[in-house]
């Protein structure tokens, strides 16, 4: 076996075993036929030093995503994974979509246009730069709505731009910390960015074989989040006379834990996809919760965090962990026996 063939076969390992058993040898032949030059000496050189081109690798990656995250017509196990990944990606996108709306609401509040929320602490928050920044957070909201309407490619582009926005925020925070000595929320910025990047990557599971998203309940969820408006609890808990801290990640952790417990308590609601998605979402929420805990632990001596902050964050992490581990165990039991052919 030439080095080129060996390299191409290692790329093919991305494909499920059952698919490789059926197609890999023929794929290798076709790849070598289309890659090796006719002239013998040149062909020997390419066979030894050549590598599969980016487009060839990309086509195998796309095929692997389509097979491993299959639609309902695919093998049961890959179909369960596909459903779970799409559900988790949509939920992740929903969280960012709501966060984008809250950013705009905060802008209005800082501008004194939401009087029932009380007086904003910093009036100058509502400058043009902040307005542009808050509005750019709606990229995630657009991505969510585009995906619900079946515009998968446009949704991926909008979410990708949202990711660039997050990268800018992380880099700007680092520069700001270096120049002003402000506390750097290193883990929060970068792990939040990593989780968002994962959400964008998982959007590739919405391929042509996947069933279209049923938008109704997702739109209801977005509308409910906007109407119920998570800002008042966040603002109330931020007031000095409240001693229990609550942040956006904490609110998401609590909502996920409550929803997760309700779901796990109702066996008739359970499907392998949903349970697996709950485990994936719990893992993401736990990473985000631990990130801020790590940041606070890093500069706890330099900041007054309030006595309840770390214990409350710790409880949120434990709740999400408990739901995630339970869901993970149930999902493993439900998915393992499913067929792959």
């Amino acid at each position: 076996m030439s080095d080129l063939e060996s390299r191409y076969r290692s790329v093919l390992r991305l494909l499920p075993l059952s698919y490789r058993e059926k197609w890999a040898d023929d794929m290798v032949t076709t790849f070598l036929d289309s890659t090796l030059p006719e002239e013998l000496e040149e062909a020997e050189y390419v066979a030894e030093f050549g590598r599969p081109g980016r487009a060839e690798v990309a086509s195998v990656v796309a095929l692997a995503v389509r097979l491993r995250f299959a639609g309902s017509a695919g093998p049961a196990r890959y179909s369960a994974w596909g459903g779970a990944v799409r559900l988790a990606a949509l939920a992740g996108l929903l969280v960012n979509a709501v966060s984008g709306v809250i950013g705009v609401e905060l802008l209005y509040w800082a501008d004194g246009r939401v009087p029932w929320l009380g007086t904003p602490p910093v009036r100058q928050l509502g400058g043009p730069a902040q307005a542009t920044w808050a509005l750019s957070g709606l990229l995630w909201t657009f991505a969510f709505l585009l995906l619900l309407n079946g515009h998968r490619r446009a949704a991926r582009i909008a979410a990708g731009l949202g990711l660039v926005r997050g990268l800018y925020a992380a880099v700007a925070a680092m520069i700001d910390s270096v120049s002003t000595g402000a506390p750097l929320f290193f883990f929060s910025h970068w792990l939040e960015l990593a989780v968002s990047a994962l959400v964008v990557l998982l959007l590739s599971a919405f391929h042509s074989d996947a069933e279209p998203v049923r938008p109704r309940w997702w739109l209801v969820a977005l509308a409910a989040a906007v109407v119920l408006n998570p800002m008042p609890p966040l603002m109330a808990f931020a007031r000095p006379d409240f001693t229990v801290p609550l942040d956006w990640t904490g609110l998401c952790c609590l909502a996920l834990a409550a929803g997760g417990v309700a779901y796990l308590a109702m066996p008739s609601w359970r499907t392998p996809s949903r349970t697996l998605a709950l485990a994936l979402l719990s893992a993401g929420a736990l990473v985000l919760r631990l990130a801020l805990l790590l940041d606070f632990a890093t500069f706890s001596g330099r900041m007054d965090l309030g006595g309840a902050t770390l214990p409350v964050f710790g409880i949120e992490a434990v709740l999400v962990l408990a739901v995630g581990v339970t869901a993970g165990m149930l999902a493993s039991r439900a998915v393992r026996p499913l067929g792959v052919r």
Binding site: Y19, K22, W23, D25, D26, M27, V28, T29, T30, F31, L32, D33, S34, A55, E56, A58, S59, V60, V61, A62, L63, R66, S208
Partner: protein
């Protein structure tokens, strides 16, 4: 039917072909516009075989490498015929409309 599936079925009309043969034939049929990568080709072939539109014709071992030839099934021929007729009808409808039309800049009515 996707454009790739359409060209792959068309490439198999009349003669069984192996993977590389299909890639070359599709490039020729599409005037070089559709250049199938291997992952794409076998993704579509797997689906077409699953739907019973193509099937294995024979296997040959050449220079130590397995080479499989695929052929169009009767269902594949029927599906391709239906798709070709649909596309031809679409093209005819557009051509009929375009026949008596001149762009607004050339004195036509926009």
């Amino acid at each position: 039917m996707t454009e790739q599936a359409f060209f792959i079925l068309t490439a198999l009309v009349g003669a069984p072909r192996h993977g590389y043969g299909i890639v070359g034939e599709v490039a020729g049929l599409s005037g070089g516009r559709v250049r199938l990568k291997v992952g794409t080709l076998y993704g579509v072939l797997d689906r077409l075989a699953g739907d019973g539109l193509v099937e294995l014709d024979r296997e040959e071992v050449e220079q130590g490498r397995l080479r499989r030839y695929y052929r169009l099934t009767d269902s594949g021929g029927a599906a391709l015929t239906a798709e070709a007729q649909r596309q031809a009808a679409n093209a005819r409808a557009a051509s009929d409309r375009l026949h008596g039309w001149r762009p607004a800049g050339q004195g036509g009515v926009s």
